[in-house]
């Protein structure tokens, strides 16, 4: 970590991603139809924007502090009650800083809340696929023989199987409206890269002196895997995983485009960009495409730069 911070590119990427994480986690504090603090009826309510109380009457507050963006991500013009001569999409102005989409939803609010969704999907996809990849790759590399052969076949099956089949089937089976089906579907298709790498790494480590020494000293296999192999294979796996976050974000946009991504009305970056594609015939509605596009591109850029930095520091350590 210290090595990463010393790396200029790594530091910049970390700063950017940290800020982004802050935006994603604090989305409710940045964009909400509810205020940050409000005093109404002689009582002060703290953070109704997070708790979203249903019985809070905001029509006559004594005073209130609003979130920087005054809209929630799902608020259409049916909820905001805005009425303008032209139907939406509305261009950026002082009310909607980044404009609105075709339903009058605030692009800035959707972007901020979309960050949470997109990062959640990307992060957990990678985390789960890293977990599966480490276990299967480690097992395959260490155990060798029949276990290795069987797991190698499994790896090959997953690599050869068309991704779309898997995603469509999985996403049409699951009934719950949550992000987890998407995350799991993506993770199940993405663990192979990590597993392959970890297996190769373990194979090469096994013949190294320190492993041989541990074995000679009578360490149990579990101990060898946990104490020696995994920590050493973790570095290269982390590099792959970091780059994986970037590709998971891009994959999410592609799935949204195909209509099998995050379910509407939830805002994700892919969903925002897909909406922009649908409204491509509005000749001037550039704000729909530009801001989500910039958000995706700059995030993936930062993630990849971080990946580079991680690679440099892992290489340096080796």
């Amino acid at each position: 970590m210290r090595r990463l911070w010393a790396d200029r590119g790594g530091r910049r990427a970390l700063l950017f991603l940290g800020a982004l994480l802050g935006v994603a986690l604090g989305a409710d504090l940045l964009a909400s139809e509810f205020p940050l603090v409000v005093r109404v009826g002689g009582k002060t309510h703290w953070l109704p924007c997070v708790t979203k109380p249903v019985d809070l009457d905001l029509s006559n507050p004594e005073w209130l502090v609003r979130t920087p963006i005054h809209f929630g991500p799902l608020q259409t013009l049916a909820a905001t009650g805005e009425d303008r001569p032209q139907p939406p999409p509305w261009a950026p102005d002082t009310v909607h800083w980044l404009g609105t989409d075709e339903l009058g939803r605030d692009v800035a609010a959707r972007l901020v809340h979309g960050a949470r969704v997109s990062l959640f999907v990307a992060f957990f996809t990678v985390l789960i696929s890293l977990g599966i990849g480490l276990v299967i790759g480690g097992l395959s590399g260490y155990a060798g023989g029949l276990v290795d052969a069987a797991l190698s076949r499994l790896l090959e099956v997953m690599q050869t199987f068309p991704l779309v089949f898997f995603l469509i089937a999985l996403l049409s089976i699951v009934r719950v409206q949550s992000l987890w089906p998407l995350v799991i579907a993506l993770a199940l298709t993405r663990w192979t890269e990590v597993a392959r790498l970890v297996r190769a790494e373990v194979l090469s480590l096994e013949s190294r002196e320190f492993v041989l020494a541990a074995r000679a000293l009578g360490a149990s296999p579990a101990r060898i895997i946990a104490r020696h192999l995994i920590p050493n294979a973790l570095g290269p796996a982390l590099v792959v995983a970091t780059f994986g976050v970037g590709s998971a974000i891009l994959l999410e946009t592609a799935l949204s485009f195909l209509g099998i991504g995050v379910a509407p009305p939830t805002a994700s970056w892919g969903e925002l960009l897909t909406e922009a594609h649908r409204t491509l015939h509005h000749p001037g509605a550039w704000w729909l495409a530009l801001f989500p596009g910039l958000a995706i591109a700059s995030t993936v850029l930062a993630v990849n730069a971080l990946g580079e930095a991680v690679r440099r520091s892992v290489d340096g350590r080796a």
């Binding site: 799902l74 909820a79 939406p88 996403l171 379910a263 509005h282």
Partner: protein, 530 residues
């Protein structure tokens, strides 16, 4: 990243320069309303009309129709196939409505050269009625047919087991007549599915899978030399190709694509827009098998929470007028005095309270008898309209204490769950290429188990009316019964009726002779100017 930004900015700027600089003259009234200007001048012979088709059909027989029936009928029945309305010289029905005698026109030839006779008609009907074949969709409307006789090559006698007002009409107006010789053999693999042979003004030329289908002029009934149906799925791409002049006719524009044309000079200079009211009406429905939606008061309250004006303004863009009627809007079958329930959240809340819905635990969601008013709209993931419309509805429902979600699944899963009645709320639109229609399958309680009455609507009085309609051959009297069905179905809120969808098309200015009708355009009348 930087490059992306500057590209997008350039795009925006150049778009605006065009608005400001070019073409001071705006579109005229006819263009804005989607009316075609009256034709002048003589038709020119020859030329190719390229039509944009969004979905490639799976086959071209119409008998064995599948999920994109609408597309297929338009493409073939008329240009390639003809129905008995055109092929018969005369027809007469017996007084008891049980016998139909058809006399065919003389000298009609199929595109393969052989002369049409009564055996061809019988062979086509036999295929439809054969229970072993996947022609059930068509068979359903002819289920009262008992026998077909062919006493001589020009005469067909059809006998019905009982009178049904729509049977004769369906047989004459919808059945595409095919040559008997082409219907012999294993039905699934008949060449005619992929290479139709009919009697119409255009002959099938070739099918380039994934790309296009082309037809050529069969005889001098047609002006055009060739018609090409090109499949382009992606809407923005299709619009771009249209702007480049690659299409003569664009079909099925979305309301927002239609409206977007208004700000683009090339569109009003080089194209004509066509808006035509189709017999298509869209509805949202609540599964009435569930206690939550079983009572009329709750359904009426839901209808009063439907933000019709906002949806009209933002989703339909003023192009899909509201309807309350399950028949062709504006026809005699609809009662013009039925007015839609207003969008009135406070009245809806009162109605919900009267129906027993209260928020006793103050969590913002109503309950009745311990059950929370919380449900999911099942929506097909590919439905752009639903993904735009439902969020608006969700907002007004939420404000009234109803917790609704959207559950999107792909089309196959959607339809199989609708059939299995495994949903809380759903949306669909019914569409007919004909003005006359029978709503028996949609509303009769006998159709709630395995028919099209997906929502499980039951009203004995409506059942009785629908049964009466089926054997009533007096059009005026039937219309009065249908108006009664309209009133009752709306009062019960069997469906939450949304809008009626017009056909929104656009054609190049050089395309003439377009006359929109419920049965699409008569392509034989179309011609292209130099």
């Amino acid at each position: 990243m930087i490059r992306l930004a500057s590209l997008a900015v350039v795009l925006a700027l150049s778009g605006c320069q065009r608005c400001g600089g070019a073409a001071p003259k705006g579109p005229d009234a006819a263009w804005l309303e989607g009316r075609l200007t009256p034709e002048t001048g003589a038709p020119r012979e020859g030329g190719t009309l390229v039509v944009r088709v969004p979905i490639e059909p799976v086959g071209l027989t119409r008998l064995h129709d599948r999920f994109n029936e609408g597309t297929m009928v338009r493409l073939t029945v008329g240009p390639i196939y003809e129905t008995l309305t055109r092929l018969a010289q005369t027809w007469s029905e017996s007084d008891d409505h049980l016998t139909l005698t058809i006399t065919l026109r003389e000298g009609v030839k199929f595109h393969d050269g052989h002369v049409l006779d009564s055996h061809d008609v019988k062979a086509t009907i036999d295929v439809v009625m054969n229970e072993q074949l996947p022609t059930a969709g068509f068979r359903a409307s002819l289920e009262t047919l008992s026998s077909v006789e062919t006493p001589d090559p020009r005469t067909v006698i059809v006998r019905w087991s009982k009178p049904y007002f729509l049977a004769t009409h369906t047989l004459l107006a919808a059945l595409p007549v095919m040559p008997a010789s082409a219907l012999v053999g294993d039905f699934d693999t008949l060449p005619i599915h992929r290479a139709p042979i009919g009697t119409g003004p255009f002959r099938f030329e070739k099918w380039d899978p994934g790309t296009s289908i082309s037809l050529v002029r069969a005889d001098d009934r047609a002006h055009l030399e060739r018609v090409v149906y090109r499949f382009v799925k992606d809407d923005p791409a299709a619009m771009q190709a249209f702007e480049k002049g690659e299409f003569g006719l664009m079909t099925r524009l979305t309301p927002s694509a239609w409206r977007a044309l208004e700000s683009q000079p090339w569109a009003w200079q080089r194209t004509q827009r066509i808006a035509f009211p189709e017999n298509t009406w869209a509805w949202l429905g609540f599964n009435q098998r569930k206690a939550m939606f079983a009572d009329v008061a709750t359904r009426r309250a839901l209808a009063m929470l439907y933000p019709a004006d906002t949806i009209e303004k933002t989703v339909d863009l003023g192009l899909e007028p509201r309807t309350t009627c399950p028949y062709y809007p504006g026809s005699k079958s609809c009662d013009p005095t039925v007015t839609p329930l207003p969008f009135d959240p406070s009245a809806a809340k009162r109605l919900l309270a009267e129906a027993g819905w209260t928020d006793a635990d103050h969590d913002g969601v109503l309950e009745r008898e311990g059950v929370k008013f919380s449900f999911a709209f099942l929506a097909a993931a590919q439905s752009v309209k639903m993904t735009k419309l439902l969020p608006l509805f969700l907002d007004t429902l939420k404000a009234a204490g109803i917790d609704a979600r959207i559950e999107t699944v792909d089309v196959s899963a959607y339809l199989s769950r609708v059939r299995a009645h495994d949903f809380d709320a759903m949306a669909l639109s019914w569409s007919s290429a004909d003005e006359v229609q029978d709503n028996f399958a949609n509303f009769h309680s006998s159709q709630a188990e395995s028919g099209n009455n997906f929502l499980g609507y039951r009203n004995p009085e409506v059942d009785r009316l629908l049964e009466q309609i089926r054997d009533d051959f007096d059009a005026e009297h039937r219309a009065s019964l249908e108006r009664e069905v309209h009133r009752r179905v709306y009062a019960d809120q069997a469906y939450l009726f949304m809008g009626r969808r017009p056909a929104l098309d656009a054609a190049a200015r050089s395309v003439h002779g377009l006359k929109p009708s419920l049965g699409w355009y008569d392509l034989s009348a179309v011609w292209i100017a130099n």
